[in-house]
């Protein structure tokens, strides 16, 4: 039962007002990037971007486009705030996590601007819960300066194959090494753990591989502890793109399709681990 879009008290003051018939379209994506307590929300005409960072080396961005929402109204070019993501997720799940068939929780979100809390109205079966979450000054997200003109290697593959590899990765390895090359081994994930070295190879003509554009042989290592944070989003996704640029910075992009067919994107940027030279 969707919340009526009647004007609430203070709706007139809302710089950001958004509504969703099914809150799970938002909460599932946010759960996937909840590896830290705080998240920065940026709302623009394109939709909502939620950013979470870890130790200045990893950044996750979830994009929920305007058309995913049943209503999305913005009074300014760009609206930004920071909230405690753990608290937000508890509020979004206030009526419980499991969904009985045909029952969904509707969400209405309202933000009145700097200094105001983020107000959520959640409704299920005629019961309404109102949450006011305190906001903070949004921290400037790091600009990883990753642009497509600088991309040396890119692959797009079906997530199935990556999911298998990531679920088997040797977590005793401090790093995950990614090798991308126009020649053998094409695309390789390697670990160096207590049980020895392990390699996962993806040949360029495999059925899983949808796009293979590698121009230069590159080997880079990334801290396993950082990349572990990307596995939840990988698990939700159906397609993944892996790109590295000339500095060895990594960009992972995941296409996530919800139960009702809505599409959202989650991307990760990660700095290479300092100690290794590029080949």
């Amino acid at each position: 039962m969707p919340l009526s879009t009647r004007s609430q008290d203070g709706d007139e003051g809302c710089v950001l007002a958004a509504a969703l018939d099914n809150v799970r379209n938002l909460s599932n994506i946010l759960k996937a990037i909840s590896f830290k307590d705080h998240a920065v929300f940026t709302a623009t005409r394109d939709g909502l971007k939620v950013t979470v960072e870890d130790s200045k080396c990893l950044q996750a961005n979830a994009f929920i486009q305007t058309d995913v929402f049943q209503e999305f109204a913005l009074r300014e070019e760009s609206v930004g705030f920071q909230v405690n993501l753990t608290v937000l997720l508890d509020c979004l799940a206030i009526f419980g996590c499991s969904s009985a068939p045909g029952v969904s929780t509707a969400l209405r979100m309202c933000y009145n601007g700097y200094g105001y809390p983020l107000t959520l109205y959640l409704e299920e079966g005629g019961v309404v819960t109102v949450c006011k979450i305190n906001t903070q000054e949004p921290e400037e997200p790091i600009d990883f300066d990753f642009c497509s003109t600088n991309v040396t290697n890119k692959v797009i593959l079906q997530s199935e194959s990556l999911k298998e590899a990531f679920s088997e990765l040797d977590m005793t390895s401090e790093v995950l090494q990614i090798t991308m090359s126009p020649s053998q081994p094409f695309f390789r994930l390697s670990t160096f753990g207590n049980s020895g070295n392990a390699h996962y190879d993806y040949p360029k003509d495999s059925d899983m591989m949808e796009l293979f554009q590698c121009t230069k042989t590159q080997t880079n290592r990334y801290k396993m502890s950082l990349l572990k944070s990307s596995t939840k989003a990988l698990a939700l996704s159906c397609k993944a793109s892996v790109r590295t640029d000339s500095r060895g910075f990594l960009s992972l992009q995941y296409l996530v399709r919800s139960d009702d067919g809505q599409i959202c994107f989650v991307e990760y940027y990660c700095c290479p681990d300092e100690e290794v030279d590029e080949e």
């Binding site: 405690n84 608290v87 508890d90 509020c91 799940a93 206030i94 009526f95 419980g96 299920e124 079966g125 005629g126 019961v127 309404v128 819960t129 109102v130 949450c131 006011k132 979450i133 305190n134």
Partner: protein, 278 residues
């Protein structure tokens, strides 16, 4: 002291079993209070927070003789898990008999007559050890009277309430429960980080009649919310009781003092008192 009782109705037996199983989930030890008319299970969850269960008519036959004619009651401490286990074997019994016996120690002996192919029934017997509670402690287990409350209201669907309270517990230790005589109830938590309020409407208010003890609610402004700040975990504990599928669930609030919760299931009531915190 004497006690003997018999159950032959399968529905009653299932019912009794469900109640005992729920109690076993809540506590390792409870008190069985036998009076001439009723059998009570008394659970002490914490000092001042007692949970009672009254059973009437679980038994088709019920006879007891208390400590003495002036003190015509029996109080026994027992582990509900033991009764649960014994009842497992009695699931399809034709009849279940319970009596107070003395083996190597005082026991509740439960014997179930099970159906069998031959004309002779099989009987399975369990001796459940109990401890007799001395008379000087009986006052701790007396059924408290319904407090003179300000507002009485039917609870919302317990599953919904449980989901909400479980989430609120992640956010705060203290929860405010408030309700008015217009069938509205709110659950609220407030911390430095967040405030959350869940609004329930059209719940209905139970008619308590004109009993003199309900004088407070008669002078209570029907629109005004009676509220109490309580420990979330105590409310969570109470909501475990929703497993017995009560037919009615209600709540009496003494403003700023006590929340009195009642679950009714046919001829049984489960009452829970939660004192308000500052």
């Amino acid at each position: 002291m004497k006690f003997r009782a018999k159950m032959i109705d399968l529905g009653c037996l299932n019912h009794f079993t469900r109640v005992v199983n729920t109690i076993a989930k809540l506590t390792k030890s409870c008190v069985l209070r036998l009076t001439p008319d009723n059998l009570y299970f008394v659970l002490s969850v914490a000092p001042g927070v007692q949970r009672f269960c009254v059973s009437v008519n679980f038994f088709d036959e019920y006879q007891m003789e208390g400590l003495s004619p002036e003190a015509n009651e029996i109080c026994l401490e027992v582990a509900p898990e033991n009764i649960s286990r014994a009842l497992k074997t009695a699931q399809n019994a034709k009849a279940v008999k319970v009596k107070l016996t003395k083996k190597h120690c005082p026991c509740l002996t439960l014997s179930a007559e099970l159906p069998s192919l031959s004309s002779i029934s099989r009987v399975v017997t369990h001796d459940i050890p109990v401890e007799v509670i001395p008379r000087r402690l009986w006052h701790e287990f007396k059924e408290p009277t319904v407090p003179d409350f300000d507002v009485s209201i039917y609870l919302p669907p317990l599953k919904t309430m449980k989901n909400v309270v479980d989430r609120m517990k992640n956010l705060s230790n203290i929860l405010v429960l408030e309700a008015n005589l217009g069938g509205e109830m709110n659950l609220k938590i407030e911390t430095d980080l967040v405030s959350v309020t869940t609004h329930f409407k059209d719940l209905g208010n139970p008619p308590w009649g004109d009993s003199a003890s309900q004088s407070r609610s008669q002078s209570w402004d029907p629109e005004a919310m009676a509220h109490a700040r309580v420990d979330v975990r105590k409310l969570q504990q109470f909501l475990i009781g929703q497993q017995i599928n009560p037919s009615k669930a209600m709540c009496n609030i003494v403003h700023n003092r006590i929340v009195h919760l009642i679950l009714l299931q046919e001829d049984m009531s489960l009452q829970y008192f939660i004192p308000a915190v500052a």
